[in-house]
């Protein structure tokens, strides 16, 4: 029974990942490589958890990556930086508050969402749409969250290849104090 749930989830994730516009994903990867700093808005539920995991991997690639509003390590954001947002409906209050200040400061952000035409999409530099559908017992949001998690892990590998960073090199950057 449990394995069946996993199989549905895997199939649902694969079907959703097959519908993504990978040219746009590559553009986001380029934004990350070319940015002075990368920031993620990680206050928004489960997409936020995926972005925090992603930030940890970016740091292992020696890309300067921060979670917005995490004090003390997070510095201010400036033009030339890129902000990443993950949001189911593109209407999260935290992200919209950020978006308003980003506009006035001329800061670019890329959006990962399952909803077209949202408030956040309007000013996003690039938007990756996940056209998620329910799969067996899984609701569409769950399929989106899984595909988002996997896509971010795939971007890590892509960046790793671009930067020529080996697995061993990344392992050296793992936290070693607990």
């Amino acid at each position: 029974m449990l394995r069946e749930y996993c199989e549905s989830a895997i199939k649902g994730t694969e079907e959703l990942l097959a519908k993504i516009d990978y040219k746009k994903v590559e553009t986001v990867a380029e934004h990350i490589l070319n940015a002075d700093n990368v920031f993620v808005v990680a206050d928004v539920g489960r997409p936020g958890l995926a972005l925090m995991n992603f930030t940890e991997r970016l740091r292992q690639l020696r890309i300067r990556a921060y979670r917005l509003e995490e004090s003390p390590p997070t510095p201010s954001v400036h033009k030339g930086d890129i902000v990443l947002i993950g949001s189911v409906d593109g209407e999260d209050a935290t992200s919209i508050t950020f978006m308003r200040s980003a506009k006035t400061l001329n800061i670019d952000y890329d959006l990962f969402t399952m909803t077209k035409g949202s408030t956040l999409e309007k000013d996003a530099t690039e938007t990756i749409i996940f056209d998620a559908e329910p799969k067996d017992e899984l609701i569409a949001e769950e399929v989106f969250e899984l595909a988002f998690y996997v896509l971010l892990d795939a971007i890590v590998l892509y960046l790793q290849e671009k930067l020529g960073a080996s697995k061993e090199h990344m392992q050296k950057e793992l936290p070693n104090l607990f």
């Binding site: 029974m1 449990l2 394995r3 749930y5 996993c6 989830a9 895997i10 994730t13 694969e14 990942l17 993504i20 990978y22 994903v25 590559e26 990867a29 206050d43 928004v44 539920g45 489960r46 958890l49 925090m52 995991n53 940890e56 991997r57 292992q60 999260d92 209050a93 935290t94 017992e137 899984l138 609701i139 569409a140 949001e141 769950e142 969250e145 899984l146 998690y149 996997v150 896509l151 892990d153 795939a154 971007i155 890590v156 590998l157 892509y158 790793q160 290849e161 697995k167 990344m170 392992q171 793992l174 936290p175 607990f178």
Partner: protein, 190 residues
């Protein structure tokens, strides 16, 4: 490889990693958590971040859930459950926390790991051994950075598989067609 090809390879690794998990053990996780008083989660880095998906779903289902080291987390007491996630099963801080629960007594310890013979696995009441090699070991053939396949196995097995098993046992859904936002316990402050 382009990103689309990479996602296919990762999905194959996830498929492999979610096979052959002992379902009886997962059902034991259900009964241990269901019969526990409060549920504490402990882990490091991405493993902790990933088990939070499952922890959140338990909260949605009405369980009292805490994350070790959060400022609002109280002392663990007899009758509670500690869930620890560690691919190697050798994280010093997790071992120290497990030892603390043994001193207090009557706290069930659930370990989610890639190594069933690790220190933490030996201390646990329930060992969830995921179908991935110990990250960095000679058997680890994953193309991904250290631990990624384990974390994905945690996500799919614990969050998807086990969460849905909980929901079917408890006869509840994630909010049906109306979506997760209809769950009365879904966060409403940002």
């Amino acid at each position: 490889m382009d990103i689309k090809q990479i996602t296919s390879t990762i999905m194959n690794e996830i498929d492999e990693a979610t096979k052959n998990v002992d379902e009886d053990v997962l059902i034991k996780v259900f009964s241990t958590i269901h019969n526990g008083n409060r549920i504490f989660f402990h882990g490091n880095g991405r493993s902790l971040m990933t088990i939070k998906y499952f922890a959140q779903r338990l909260m949605h289902q009405g369980y009292r859930v805490f994350i070790v080291n959060d400022v609002a987390t109280p002392a663990i007491r007899q009758g509670d459950v500690l869930v620890e996630v560690s691919a190697t099963g050798e994280d010093a801080n997790l071992i120290a926390a497990a030892e603390t629960t043994k001193k207090i007594g009557d706290i069930k310890l659930i370990i989610v790991t890639a190594d069933a013979s690790s220190t933490l696995a030996k201390m646990a009441d329930v060992v969830v051994k995921l179908n991935v090699p110990v990250p960095g070991s000679a058997e680890d053939k994953s193309i991904q950075p250290i631990g990624a396949q384990f974390e994905q196995a945690v996500l799919y097995t614990m969050d998807v598989g086990l969460s849905h098993y909980f929901m079917s046992r408890l006869g509840i859904t994630l909010g049906g067609a109306a979506g997760i936002n209809q769950n009365p316990l879904h966060a409403n402050l940002q």
